[in-house]
């Protein structure tokens, strides 16, 4: 409505404005007799997109449309760049041969179904070669990956949330010192302690039984605790005060009030750390020596090592990659609101 009104107003105003402009140009010509024709043409041209110049008034509406279209083009090009490798990945996982893989650009080259192979031949090959070369079962590997990502994340998020609760809502002696103590630990880079971590786990036998991937994560993560703490600052303290007056202890407040109220943040952090653990290549590569207990990324690396330079179809590695990415993509697609919202929240508070 208001836009229409504005347009009407503009139409009404246009004539006088032109008259005034004409007068102004007359005056200008009287002073400086020549109008720069190139400048005027340029002014007419940029006026198409709503820019103002000496000769033409600008239009805010047209300018906005121009920039919106520009932004859409940029964003769509960027989005294409972001998505293309994934599309290529899916296509390539159906490429029937090495040459077919090289021909894959927007569609599988020499796809498996044209070569008298099963449609999912590369996926079948992945399962077979895992049994043959690494002597492990892909389903068992997926199971271990799930264990590595569910157990430490569920326990770790709760321990992180409890620490976050203590930092955000409880006044206790030494809180700031402990906070600084934990913050400083972030400064210690992983690579400088990983050798010692390996030696410690090795001394306890954890590198052989997979506990090195489970136990350390159960103590919680400092970053997760900080993010949940940010969220808890936004919760009204009066709820906790009220619960305290009604006789609830901190233990009950934590389980009965804080966890349910902070569930969005906790879920978001949990899902993010689940994704991190599912994709955790380096941790498993470093701290697990038992081939039976590899997780999916390490298995993919071992399979790829066997294929590179070999005569077989390297698309098998891509098929394995698709298997490792699909669950994460589905999880992300179903929880994207929660995750992005949580990231935005923590981002805007920094």
């Amino acid at each position: 409505m208001s836009e229409n009104l504005n347009e009407n107003l503009n139409e009404e105003l246009e004539a006088p404005v032109e008259e005034v402009a004409a007068e102004a140009t007359e005056v200008a010509e009287a002073v400086a007799p020549k109008v720069n024709p190139i400048g005027k043409a340029w002014g007419a041209f940029i006026n198409l997109f709503g820019f103002s110049s000496k000769y033409y008034p600008g239009s805010k509406k047209r300018k906005k449309i121009f920039f919106d279209v520009l932004v859409y083009i940029v964003l769509i090009l960027g989005g294409f760049t972001m998505l293309y490798p994934f599309w290529w990945m899916i296509c390539a996982s159906f490429a029937g041969s090495s040459i077919g893989l090289a021909d894959t650009v927007f569609w599988p080259g020499a796809p498996t179904w044209t070569l008298d192979q099963a449609i999912f031949q590369n996926y079948i090959d992945f399962f077979d070669s895992a049994t043959l070369t690494i002597n492990t079962n892909v389903w068992a590997t997926i199971g271990w990956t799930l264990i590595y990502s569910i157990v430490p994340v569920v326990v770790g998020v709760i321990t992180s949330a409890s620490a976050a609760f203590a930092f955000a809502k409880i006044e206790w002696y030494g809180r700031n010192i402990v906070f600084f103590y934990l913050l400083a630990a972030i400064m210690i880079p992983g690579p400088s302690i990983m050798v010692v971590q390996y030696c410690i786990y090795y001394s306890w036998g954890w590198t052989e039984n997979g506990l090195s991937m489970i136990i350390p994560g159960m103590f919680g993560s400092i970053m997760t605790a900080f993010f949940i703490r940010q969220f808890l600052f936004g919760l009204p303290t009066s709820i906790i005060e009220a619960a305290k007056i009604d006789g609830a202890g901190y233990w009950r407040i934590f389980w009965g009030f804080v966890l349910p109220l902070a569930l969005p943040a906790i879920m978001a952090q949990g899902i993010l750390s689940f994704m991190g653990c599912w994709n955790n290549y380096l941790g498993c590569y470093m701290f697990v020596d038992n081939t039976k207990l590899y997780n999916l990324p390490v298995l993919i690396k071992k399979i790829s090592d066997n294929y590179s330079g070999g005569a077989k179809n390297p698309a098998v590695t891509i098929a394995a990659s698709v298997i490792s990415i699909l669950p994460i993509l589905i999880l992300f697609a179903s929880c994207q609101n929660l995750i992005i919202g949580s990231l935005m929240l923590t981002g805007s508070k920094e």
Binding site: D68, A102, M187, I193, Y250, D289
Partner: protein
Amino acid sequence: MENKNTNLEEAEALAEMPEVEAVMGDGAAVAPAKKRKKPINQQKLQDNLWGWLFCTPLIVGTTLFVYIAFVIAILLSFSNYQEATPLWNFLGNIEWGSAAIVRVESGEFITDTSLIWYRYIFESTTQSNDFWYTLFNTVFYLIGIPIGMILSVFFAVCMSRDIKGANIFRVIYYIPCVASTVAITYTFQRLFATGGSGVINRLLFGDDSTRYINWLNGAQNTRPWSSGAIIYKWVIIIMSVWKGLGGTIILYVAGLSGVNASHKEAASIDGANAWITFWKIEIPQLWPTIFYNMVTAVIGGMQIYTEPDLLFSTNGGVNFEVTPYVGKIFYLGPMGNNPSPNCAYACALGIILALIIFVLTLFQFLIDSKMDK
């Protein structure tokens, strides 16, 4: 830790007090002031007890797996601990300052054990080459940080315009962040494959095979600044920028939405156009987010390892052209069934890395505080 114990003991001692007072309260007259103080003490005790209890797992985990590990790393870096034998026995039996003969690589022996590994890095020609070349590669990979920062601010500004579907773009751009590094790396290995089998070469140059770029044929092991090696490193930079863009975009979009709207309006009333508003209003208000991202990106970027190792299939070896600093630590460490590890040397390299990162972070904070003035 000691602090915590004493505090808990105090708390226990305090816990018994109310009962005592309650018993006394029957017979003896208790001063009213004391009576009023009682619930406060009780509350404080609860606060302290539960505050510490709730934090205990995180404190224990951090202390055990980070701080103690770091202290042991410092100790080991001065020792001759090479194979991953059970650690506790070794720590019990270290003879500090003894002139134990230590095997180093290629049959060299060092007899003077003071600062042995720290001197070995710089005294041995091969080792100092490894050190400087790998460090050069790591620092070169940091080029991706400013590129990613500019791109993500640009896209964030685009997305924070009032257009339909900005949320969808946010989700699309975040997808690479959640994908597995291993899967992405193997995909890029194929996309950038050498010659006509790589999609990128095909898309850029069609069938003109003379112009195909040799993106990642990095096995010559020449100097890290040779022209070929620079191209290989750019593949890594492209990949890490592509993968990390979405996360920073979301942070910047959040930051931009927090920019005070009245400031922008005031600026436009004063005649500032969008460009000036962006530089004078939005960037200064976004600066804390940008700075935070920069610091974390540099800390993370110095620890890069997975991408070059997988993309160029160096398999834990040291390839001067692409291997980053951490690759050398992996090469020496006991991880991945390394047949001839040198843990003490790897620890020394790790401590140097920690120092470098610390200095870089400090440097950034110094610049930031200078810019504030």
